[in-house]
């Protein structure tokens, strides 16, 4: 058994050198390439993961924003609902108020109209009544009535104040005795006598006829009129009628003594 030591040494060195050479030229480059590729792949995977995470974050942000939008929308809707409700309520209130006001106005108008109508009807009824009374009074003709009117004229003249009565008696003043129908001479003389007696003087007295008096005897001085006729009475009654809800004109036929008004006429 022989062992060639030189060969052993050579082979040992040879294998060592081969190991070094292959390490230098084969194993290291290839494994470095493998490592590099793995690193590249890992990096790309990491990048992909990072991008994915970024996308997920963006998605989450979007979702949050969308939720915010939704909440905002809900808030806006709720506000709108509230505003609409308030507007509706106020509109309803206004409408109700207006309706109430309109109703009140309408009621008032109706009331006013009714009152006006009542007044108008009252006036018309008064006029009708006065007209009817006047028509009725025209039938009361005659000497008795004439005498009654003369009496009441005399009383009215006597009721006048002394100064006024004196004013009637001034000279040159012509008094007019106005009647509804022409008087005959006897009636004229009675009337003159009565008036002179009432005044206490003898002024000149003219006689005039005015059919519109209906009935009565009046004394017209230049500054004074002693109204004593159906017409004057009816006018006075008529003046008192408006405003009264229940005018009740008395029939003149009873011929109740009425207060005689001395109306000063404008000079």
């Amino acid at each position: 058994m022989t062992l060639n030591w030189w060969t052993l040494g050579f082979q040992t060195v040879n294998v060592l050198v081969l190991i070094w050479l292959l390490q230098r030229f084969f194993w290291r480059p290839v494994s470095a390439m493998i490592t590099q590729r793995q690193a590249t792949i890992r990096k790309s995977v990491d990048d992909a993961h990072a991008i994915e995470a970024k996308a997920a974050a963006a998605l989450a942000t979007t979702v949050t924003t969308r939720a915010g939008f939704e909440a905002e929308r809900q808030t806006i809707l709720a506000d709108a609902h509230k505003a609409a409700e308030a507007a509706r309520a106020s509109l309803l209130d206004t409408a109700r108020t207006q309706a109430l006001a309109l109703q009140a106005a309408a009621t008032a108008a109706i009331e006013a109209g009714r009152q006006a109508a009542d007044a108008a009807w009252s006036g018309r009824a008064g006029q009708l009544a006065i007209g009817m009374a006047g028509r009725l009074a025209t039938r009361l003709e005659g000497a008795a009535v004439q005498a009654l009117f003369l009496d009441s004229l005399v009383q009215a003249i006597r009721a006048l104040p002394e100064a006024v009565r004196a004013g009637l008696a001034v000279d040159g003043v012509t008094l007019d005795a106005v009647s509804d129908a022409p008087l005959d001479d006897a009636a004229r003389a009675v009337a003159v006598t009565a008036i002179h007696g009432a005044i206490g003087a003898q002024p000149e007295i003219g006689f005039k006829v005015d059919a519109s008096l209906i009935g009565g005897l009046e004394l017209h001085a230049p500054h004074l009129t002693v109204a004593n006729s159906w017409r004057a009475d009816l006018a006075r009654i008529h003046d008192q009628l408006p405003g009264e809800s229940q005018p009740a004109p008395r029939p003149k036929a009873s011929n109740a003594p009425l207060p005689l008004a001395t109306v000063p006429t404008a000079a």
């Binding site: 060639n4 082979q11 040879n14 292959l22 030229f25 390439m33 590249t40």
Partner: protein, 223 residues
Amino acid sequence: MNSPLSSPPVWQIGPVTITGDVVATWVIMAVLVAASLLATRHLALVPTRTQAVLELIVGTVDQQIRDTMQLPPGRYRAFIGTLFGFIFVANWSSLIPGVRPPTAHLETDAALALLVFLAVIWFGVQAGGIRGYLATFATPNLVMVPLNVIESVTRTFSLLVRLFGNVMSGVFVVGIVLSLAGLLVPIPLMALDLLTGAVQAYIFAILAMVFIAGAMPPKGNKQ
């Protein structure tokens, strides 16, 4: 018939004898290095077909180291891979007519086994320090120290003789059959020789890994 145990010298330069094994080894080295240079010329991130094959080889070696040693393969890749590649190519160089594989002679196998023996010490000391390496002899307990020391030598011889016996016997049997019947008869034996050569290269590398892993401190082994 030439003795299979001796290799004839090719050149004699003074005291230095250069045998055919050394020449064959040089040729194998040149071929391997040239092939590596050619193959790794155009490495790129996107692999070509050649590069994919290279990476498959490297990946397989790494995976074997990982499986057998339970260690990251970076430091052992070159040693283990080169051992496997060299023995594989050397065994299969018997295909070339007129070439006797270098591994069919005792000197080359002895050199390889010696390198494994030294590598075990080298990697053991590197991993755990001298104290840690020496402590691995005391596993599982102190009584085993002499046995472990003897084993570390005998397993090296075992490695040597295994590789030598397999390759040499293959070559020897093929030679004997060839001297009996020249045509076609040795082909099955040559195929068996190729299989044996590949398996022996694999086993040599595996055993080298196992021995190196055995020299690691136990803490490193558990990782």
